[in-house]
């Protein structure tokens, strides 16, 4: 082995064995690069690699070049079950943020799983049909902000070491390929309602000053849940989220909660207060018996008078 070969070998070994901060949880985007044209839709998937760690809470803050229009965010197929802050798009600032978690934790992909099962959410960007004043290529970036966080499933809320990877897309002004419309195709395919769910009435001294509130939770496995609406009694439908403080604290109104997915499919859960529940009309039996008795007396009376 000559000296140069030894040098290369030594450096390789050195870098192989030096601890390089390996094992950090990472947030990354897919696709992380690509070429798009004006009018295209880009579906950017936000994914997590836990590197064998078990995590349970995530906070993702992203920024994007304002040439892109963030038109929607899909929670379909997300591993997040509970959302502390549902996805919020701020187009003016070019920012998207959300936070949520996985009860019992998420320890990465299980061997044999047919899916990647590591999706946090999907951002739908639309490239304007005409990029004013730009005749040349544009590079646009989507990246994670330093405020993003991942917490370990250790019962202490330990903040995990996090690495992030941005995405850079090239946008060309002239159209040479057919329009990329992935999101509208996904919406067309989604004919399924969100999963069935229940409304539960709660009263706790530690929340809402001991007043009645309701909880509800569902998911949508295709395009993802968009919003919930509530209707209390004769009131109109209004946007809501769980938990919801009831207006009718006497619990005498029918409560309906409607979960709507991104494709507009809906699932309604209903709570009917005990006092309004229809019970078997026993009074009819009493009426029939009473009526029967009267008729019987009427029939028998002439005989006794003989």
């Amino acid at each position: 082995m000559n000296f140069n070969k030894f040098l290369i070998f030594s450096i390789t070994i050195l870098w192989t064995f030096l601890p390089l901060g390996a094992g950090a949880v990472s947030f990354y985007l897919e696709p992380s690069e690509g070429q798009y044209q004006a009018g295209d839709t880009i579906l950017v998937e936000i994914k997590i690699d836990t590197e064998g760690k078990c995590v349970n809470a995530v906070k993702a803050d992203l920024s994007f070049s304002q040439i892109l229009n963030a038109v929607d965010f899909s929670r379909g197929q997300s591993i997040i079950t509970l959302w502390v802050q549902p996805p919020k798009i701020n187009q003016e600032k070019g920012e998207i943020s959300f936070s949520g978690g996985i009860p019992g934790g998420y320890c990465g992909r299980i061997p044999g799983d047919p899916g990647a099962s590591n999706l946090l959410g999907k951002i739908i960007f639309k490239i304007p049909g005409m990029i004013v004043g730009e005749a040349e290529e544009n590079s646009v970036e989507v990246k994670f902000l330093d405020t993003s966080q991942v917490l370990l499933n250790d019962g202490l809320g330990t903040v995990a070491e996090l690495t992030t990877q941005e995405a850079i897309f090239k946008i060309v002004p002239q159209r040479t390929e057919p329009l990329k419309e992935g999101w509208s195709e996904e919406i067309k395919k989604d004919v399924f309602s969100p999963e069935p769910f229940q409304i539960k009435i709660q009263q706790e001294p530690t929340a809402f000053e001991g007043k009645y509130f309701i909880t509800f939770l569902t998911t949508d496995k295709q395009t993802g849940l968009d919003y919930y609406e509530i209707k209390e009694g004769e009131n109109n439908w209004e946007r809501t989220r769980s938990p919801y403080l009831l207006k009718d604290q006497r619990l005498q109104s029918i409560i309906k909660v409607r979960a709507v997915d991104k494709a507009g499919n809906e699932r309604i859960a209903e709570y009917i207060p005990g006092i309004l529940k229809k019970t078997f009309p026993y009074w009819i039996i009493l009426l029939i018996l009473g009526g029967g008795g009267v008729v019987w007396r009427f029939i028998r009376k002439p005989r006794t008078s003989k």
Partner: protein, 356 residues
């Protein structure tokens, strides 16, 4: 190479290499609270209908001799013997009605043998099967996306199997926690998988972490701390005692045939202060973290759980209370780590203790 000789350069590289090899384990993340373990034993198998296995499933009308209680008569024929096209043949695993007979009504005005009734092929069901080991005769609660959906009892050898049928295809997180014969609860073990359409997804090889209990949570230095719980029959149990000084003490014991394990820990080697303890059996994840103090440490004693409303469950109601108290807590019960704020850290603690 004017300044340094070849020998010096060789040493310059050899020393860091050897140093890297010897000291690199020290830089690896310490198992501070021992949460960084992936349940490696779990595997997912997806099975769609297999023609030729003599089990009628999914879209199969029949498979071998399994005709699904159908016969020529039930399919509208008058009589005959119904068969099934075998695997490899065209129309495999569909009914072969060549042996069925359609008899005209005979005599006058025969109908020409019109068949009545329509065969509706079985609807393919998307289902999930979860199987593994818990504790002998324990009760296991199954969570689907954070909601408790069913319970199942493990047999005397700690094996359990649960089937969730008629589920929409997609990504799910299934969680399991067990309650042993003494009423101790395990921590929830979760698995995120993609459930395939019209097939059976099996998550197997699950081993629930041991249940754990401390006989005392505060004792004097030198006293014996009894640590106990349950796991699989005759499983090896490792116990980890962790102090804030990141010093981890490991002890081992073996469960009895009924799954019960016990360790009498001599606290002579511990200094006064707060400690946490966890246990794990061979390939399981770590048990719940429990805390104890030696001496007069007092004060904050470690995890207080996440059952804010004290109803024995950590679920959507506690999550609602947490959200109500978000940022500055109106009620200190929601501040799970006693730092005066309710934030993502408290949320993470709640998810760790989640029972659905």
């Amino acid at each position: 190479m004017g300044l340094l000789s070849k020998k010096s350069l060789i040493f310059l590289f050899i020393i860091p290499i050897l140093g890297g090899l010897v000291f690199s384990p020290l830089f690896l993340p310490l198992p501070k609270i021992l949460a960084d373990m992936t349940p490696t034993s779990v595997t997912v198998t997806i099975s769609g209908p297999v023609c030729g296995d003599s089990i009628r499933e999914g879209t199969e009308q029949c498979d071998g001799s399994d005709l699904g209680s159908q016969g020529c008569v039930s399919l509208g024929y008058t009589s005959g013997t119904l068969a099934c096209y075998t695997a490899g043949m065209p129309n495999q695993c569909t009914f072969n009605t060549s042996g069925c007979v359609t008899r005209g009504s005979g005599g006058t005005g025969g109908t020409g043998g019109g068949r009545s009734g329509v065969y509706i092929p079985p609807v393919a069901v998307t289902k999930v099967i979860i199987q593994g080991k818990a504790y002998p005769s324990s009760l296991i609660t199954v969570l689907q996306d954070g909601k408790a959906v069913t319970t199942v009892r493990a047999d005397s050898l700690a094996n359990f199997r649960v089937e969730i049928a008629d589920i929409t295809a997609g990504t799910y997180t299934f969680g399991l926690w067990g309650k042993d014969k003494e009423g101790r609860k395990s921590i929830t073990s979760s698995f995120t998988v993609t459930v395939s359409k019209k097939g059976s997804t099996t998550i197997s090889g699950i081993l629930l972490p041991p249940t754990i209990e401390l006989e005392k949570t505060s004792l004097q230095k030198g006293k014996i701390l009894n640590i106990l719980g349950q796991t699989g029959s005759q499983s090896e149990v490792s116990i980890f005692i962790n102090s804030s000084a990141k010093e981890i003490i490991k002890r081992e014991t073996k469960a009895r045939t009924d799954g019960k394990w016990f360790y009498a820990f001599d606290t002579t080697i511990l200094e006064e202060g707060s400690y946490t303890v966890q246990a794990k059996s061979l390939t399981s994840t770590f048990s719940q973290t429990l805390a104890f103090t030696i001496g007069e440490a007092g004060g904050k004693t470690g995890p207080k759980g996440a059952d804010i409303n004290k109803d024995g469950k950590v679920n959507l109601v506690d999550f609602s209370i947490l959200l109500y108290n978000w940022n500055i807590p109106k009620n200190t019960m929601a501040d799970l780590n006693y730092d005066g704020k309710v934030n993502l850290v408290d949320f993470s603690i709640m998810l760790y203790y989640w029972t659905g």
